[in-house]
Symmetry: C2
Subunit: 315 residues, 2 copies
């Protein structure tokens, strides 16, 4: 029987890296002694993925899907109020493809303006995200546009995995990689690349514990979502691909308190001048609050996954 591991694996990720090499940025890896951020380990490898096109890692998966499949005349379509929508709009603009993004009425005018600025057609409708998704799916049936998902399609996960391949190309295999989880597309890609060659650990805010709840229940379950990182990490249920791959290659899952996340976000600015969204601060928060305790000789990779937020929140 085919499993996701048959199509989401290092070979597929290496091929994706070739496919999207000219589309996305090879983001920098900032290597620091652990002591620079008060962590008792050898080196911290900060993958500055928030400098990616569209301000988050999502562009990797979107470009990979759009470069892997035929794109209908109707273009691409997605329901997303966050980084995935921005990434689809960026990729569609770069490839000259029509793009529709469905958002609920609650979405901020600022986000709609960003999407419109990227030449996406913004469709606002329904009170909740699930309403926007329903409208998006109906519309996709009408137009035949290529449906893009924020995290649970193989090309999306494989694209995210190219980030891990870049870390290895730049610095080798770390002892541990710390990754934030929303729907799980990023951690699934990272775990699929390393295939157990290093310890991959999942981090979630207490307010949106999709993977943690699934591991406890033994299967993906719906969770309530709240809190400061809900915007970027606010999937309600871990993706099917992430669930399969994480069972094999994710060593642990940790829930982090909001104040630790906020403190790590502030520290990244005050010590390193890295302005990132709360979701990107979870890896450092995990080390600072003691949820993850490294050995002294470890090199630890931290994925800084995005920077789509209001700067005012940092000052």
């Amino acid at each position: 029987m085919t499993t996701f591991a048959d199509i989401v694996n290092p070979q597929a990720i290496a091929a994706a890296r070739q496919r999207i090499g000219a589309d996305v940025r090879h983001t920098p890896l900032l290597r620091l002694p652990g002591a620079a951020l008060g962590v008792a380990c050898a080196e911290l490898w900060l993958k500055l993925e928030h400098l990616q096109i569209g301000g988050s890692f999502k562009a990797r998966g979107m470009f990979n899907r759009m470069r892997s499949l035929p794109i209908p005349a109707a273009g691409v379509i997605i329901a997303s109020g966050g980084n995935a929508g921005i990434a689809v709009a960026c990729a569609a603009r770069a490839l000259g493809v029509h793009c529709e993004v469905f958002l609920p009425e609650l979405s901020s005018p600022a986000k709609r303006a960003v999407l419109a600025g990227l030449q996406a057609q913004v469709v606002v409708g329904g009170a909740a995200y699930s309403d926007a998704l329903a409208a998006c799916l109906l519309r996709q049936q009408e137009t035949g546009a290529l449906l893009m998902h924020a995290y649970d399609q193989p090309e999306i996960v494989v694209g995210a995995g190219t980030l891990a391949a870049e870390i290895e190309a730049d610095a080798g295999v770390p002892h541990r990689v710390l990754v934030s989880v929303g729907g799980g597309g990023l951690i699934a890609g990272v775990a699929a690349w390393f295939e157990g060659r290093c310890r991959v650990e999942a981090l979630e805010p207490v307010g949106s514990p999709t993977l943690h709840a699934a591991r406890k229940a033994g299967a993906p379950v719906d969770v309530a979502v709240s809190g400061l990182a809900a915007d970027a990490l606010g999937a309600r249920r871990i993706g099917a691909i992430a669930w399969e791959i994480s069972q094999q290659h994710v060593a642990a899952s940790h829930l982090l308190p909001e104040d630790a996340i906020r403190g790590a976000q502030q520290l990244l600015w005050s010590e390193l001048r890295l302005a990132v969204e709360p979701a990107a601060a979870l890896p450092l928060a995990a080390l600072r609050c003691g949820a993850v305790v490294p050995a002294p000789q470890e090199d630890i990779a931290l994925v800084l996954c995005g920077a789509n937020f209001e700067l005012a929140g940092l000052s």
Copy 2:
């Protein structure tokens, strides 16, 4: 007769790189196609030096001077309200050395708090910077502390040059390097490293034209200082070292309008999620406003020199 070029040169810079290699960060180089920022050239190489310890390139020179000379029991002393003061305080803390920073009464309480947080002894006195400098020099006579200058000491310039050595180690020699100028320590170090192997150009805001005025007058002259980058680029006169070296190895000097600088600062955030101070935006501003017109095949290095500013100014 000895010239500064006898002691500020590639050999000295290579030695400094060894000397301070464990003290400072090898900052990342972000390579992008010119089109990503609307520039008609091959590649833009962004040297993310604003991620350096203390939030600016200044730490390189400060560590280099403190590692090159005996440090008296009284420690180090400087008059500075900006990045140089922060860098000295960072270096002194790291090396366990006493540090006094003299500031005028006009300096912001926020800056004093940053310096105090770095365990520097802050001495506030005098209405203007020149008064703080006079007090600093008197105090140095009393204590024998090692006097640190923001830009016009050989070890400081040599230390700054290590930034250029890193660019070459990471990506080779670009066709052109664009560097902001205040007192000229940074551009002197960069020009001394490349020694004419690429075109080095100087950028200043119209409100603080120290090098431009010196080139026009044929010698360093005092200038009035004003405007948005005055804080970081607000030296009143080009340094003697920078003057000598720039005459030989700096190909051109450009004055940039404030709105171009502000626009480039905004673009670095909106397109790349790089939060930098105005002084760090001059290289991109020069390309965007047409002050510098590259050939299509050029690779251009842009030094993003600092990020010590209030984030609120960007949002």
